[in-house]
């Protein structure tokens, strides 16, 4: 049984910053339900004390020395920006929080 509801899909889309139409919500709810039902089997596989593997080849302590390397120029940094001004990336106003 799936826990995927239209409300959940709306919430997830908002967390993921993706605008979704009501039609898409309905479609995604159906699709995700099927997928979630099918992948939920991982729960059955791991009864008992099994360590998690987040990294396929175990390694540790990989560091770089504290050395300054060349940066991009300001022009390079901004070269792909949709908009910029005064040497900075320009973005529309941030959500009014008050």
């Amino acid at each position: 049984m799936s826990e995927v509801t239209p409300d959940l899909v709306r919430h997830l889309a908002s967390l993921a910053r993706i605008l979704v139409t009501e039609e898409e919500v309905q479609k995604l709810t159906g699709e995700l339900s099927v997928i979630v039902d099918s992948v939920a089997s991982v729960n059955k596989a791991v009864s008992g004390d099994v360590a998690a593997t987040s990294h396929p080849i175990p390694m540790s302590n990989v560091f770089r020395e504290d050395i300054v390397l060349p940066s991009l120029t300001q022009a390079e940094a901004l070269s792909a920006a949709p908009d910029s001004a005064e040497g900075r990336f320009k973005v529309p106003a941030i959500l009014d929080e008050e």
Partner: protein, 499 residues
């Protein structure tokens, strides 16, 4: 948004128990950033210390700055924490334009340091043990400038500009456990705690610790519960309180604000609040809801950090003395009065005085130089004493010359001026400015006799035992000698000749 209604502080403290929790972010002073080789530098032209990694271009990958890990371990050790045998970085996912990847590389359930404590002494000598929950590594975000609108603040701005120079600067976030029992001292305790953290990281030289530059920033959690109630109240988190004084004011404000709401039957909303330094109040920021699901998971682009016991011990061995212990030791060694010592600490003069004493000056003399003449000059030039062009060793040398009678106080101030003016080492300044105490007693006596003869009334007074009258004669003699005589010796000779 205007100020909210407040309950008088004393009344609030009477009715409620205050619980605070502090999160202090310390920017490390490594040469390069946490995960890339860009310069970690304040005040550069915007977006010039950036690369594909710290502006989050597709395909770029992080790599961990070893020095930043070392500094984090050192901070953990200085706070009495255990150092994790193994720990990982994690991604904290949320969208914000100052966050280049829209996740912050941080640590979640595996901080590098945990379980420490710090003893905090308040002005009245009362001491508190603040328990440290954890210290973890993370990266700073970029800097937003809000343009347009009326205030230049986020609200009502037309647009915002982003500079990623600060994005990826290494941070250590130090989180306390809830601090109970501060009572009416809670705001002062919060401020004293932040001051102590700042002093520790500065002494260790792992951070520039300049609060005005945001090197040390504090988020203050405050909650109230009616006295006698066990259940903790709802807390608010006041963000980015960026001076020690504002920590105290902001906590105090929140206590009064929350007390008013609770006393009138209201509820506290769990939210972040912003401190407005200029007008001394906090305002509501984001509401902490399920929208703040950060979806932490282990950073797959980085591998675990597993500090070996040897590594940790070598870092421990290199730690400087704990600032509080050091203060206590120096206070005893130097023999300053309590007031003198506190002034020295508050004026941030401990280190220069220490260095001056180490270079051979007596503690009181070193104190007088730095908290007197040199503090005055620094103040006039709007600098810190460290920024003056004179070293503790030079001050010590000048003081030694005073002690041996080779310089008078006034001449010494001339030497200091010469050193500050870039005329070279004290000896060279003395040479060039011809500052030499006249030790030819014959010349002194001749000048004294001349002065006494010119002021017979003064001579009379001295003979009557009014010794303070000698001042006029001493002044005349010093003038005649061009200031280059030892005033004490002149006085002795004046009294002798007047007999």
């Amino acid at each position: 948004m205007s100020k909210e209604q407040l309950m008088p502080y004393e009344k609030a403290i009477e009715q409620f128990e205050v619980v605070i929790g502090l999160e202090v972010h310390v920017e490390l002073n490594t040469k390069s950033k946490m995960f890339c080789g860009c310069k970690n530098e304040f005040g550069s032209e915007p977006n010039t210390n950036v690369c594909p990694i710290c502006i989050g271009l597709p395909g770029a990958l992080p790599s961990v700055n070893k020095k930043a890990v070392e500094s984090s371990i050192a901070i953990g050790l200085a706070l009495g924490c255990d150092i994790a045998k193994t720990c990982r970085f994690a991604r904290k996912n949320y969208f914000y334009p100052d966050l280049a990847k829209n996740f912050q590389t941080s640590q979640y359930d595996e901080p590098i340091a945990f379980g420490g404590k710090l003893s905090i002494e308040l002005a009245d000598g009362q001491s508190f043990n603040v328990e440290i929950e954890r210290a973890h590594m993370e990266e700073d975000a970029g800097k937003l400038t809000h343009v347009g609108g009326s205030t230049g603040r986020i609200h009502g701005a037309d647009f915002s500009l982003v500079d990623y120079n600060r994005a990826g600067v290494p941070l250590v976030e130090i989180v306390t456990k809830p601090i109970f029992g501060g009572g009416d001292k809670a705001p002062e305790l919060a401020a004293a705690y932040v001051r102590a953290i700042r002093e520790i990281v500065k002494t260790m030289n792992v951070s520039d610790a300049r609060m005005e530059r945001g090197n040390v920033r504090c988020d203050a959690n405050v909650s109230l519960r009616p006295k006698g109630q066990e259940k903790l109240g709802t807390r608010t988190e006041t963000k980015n309180v960026n001076s020690i004084r504002s920590v105290e004011s902001a906590v105090r404000y929140e206590i009064q604000r929350q007390a008013h709401i609770l006393a009138n039957g209201g509820t506290i909303i769990q939210e972040t609040r912003h401190w407005h330094e200029d007008r001394g109040y906090t305002s509501s920021g984001r509401v902490k809801s399920d929208a703040e699901d950060y979806r932490y998971f282990p950073e797959p682009d980085l591998v675990p950090v597993e500090p070996s016991a040897d590594w940790v011990e070598s870092i421990r061995a290199a730690l400087p003395e704990n600032p509080e212990k050091r203060r206590k030791r120096l206070s005893a060694e130097w023999g300053f009065s309590e007031l003198e010592f506190r002034d020295v600490v508050n004026a941030d003069l401990l280190d220069v005085i220490y260095a001056t004493v180490e270079a051979g000056a007596k503690p009181q003399a070193a104190r007088k130089w730095w908290s007197g003449e040199l503090a005055r000059i620094a103040n006039a030039e709007n600098k810190s004493v460290e920024e003056l062009a004179i070293t503790p060793a030079q001050v010590a040398e000048i003081q030694t010359l005073i002690d041996s009678g080779e310089l008078t106080d006034r001449m010494a101030r001339d030497v200091v001026a010469g050193v500050l003016a870039g005329e070279g080492e004290p000896r060279a300044v003395i040479e060039q400015r011809g500052l030499k105490v006249v030790s030819d007693e014959g010349a002194l006596i001749a000048a004294i006799d001349l002065a006494l003869a010119a002021q017979p009334d003064v001579l009379e007074k001295i003979r009557e035992g009014k010794l303070q009258a000698a001042g006029a004669v001493i002044g005349a003699v010093m003038k005649a000698m061009g200031g280059q005589a030892d005033a004490a010796r002149v006085r002795e000779l004046v009294l002798e000749r007047a007999k």
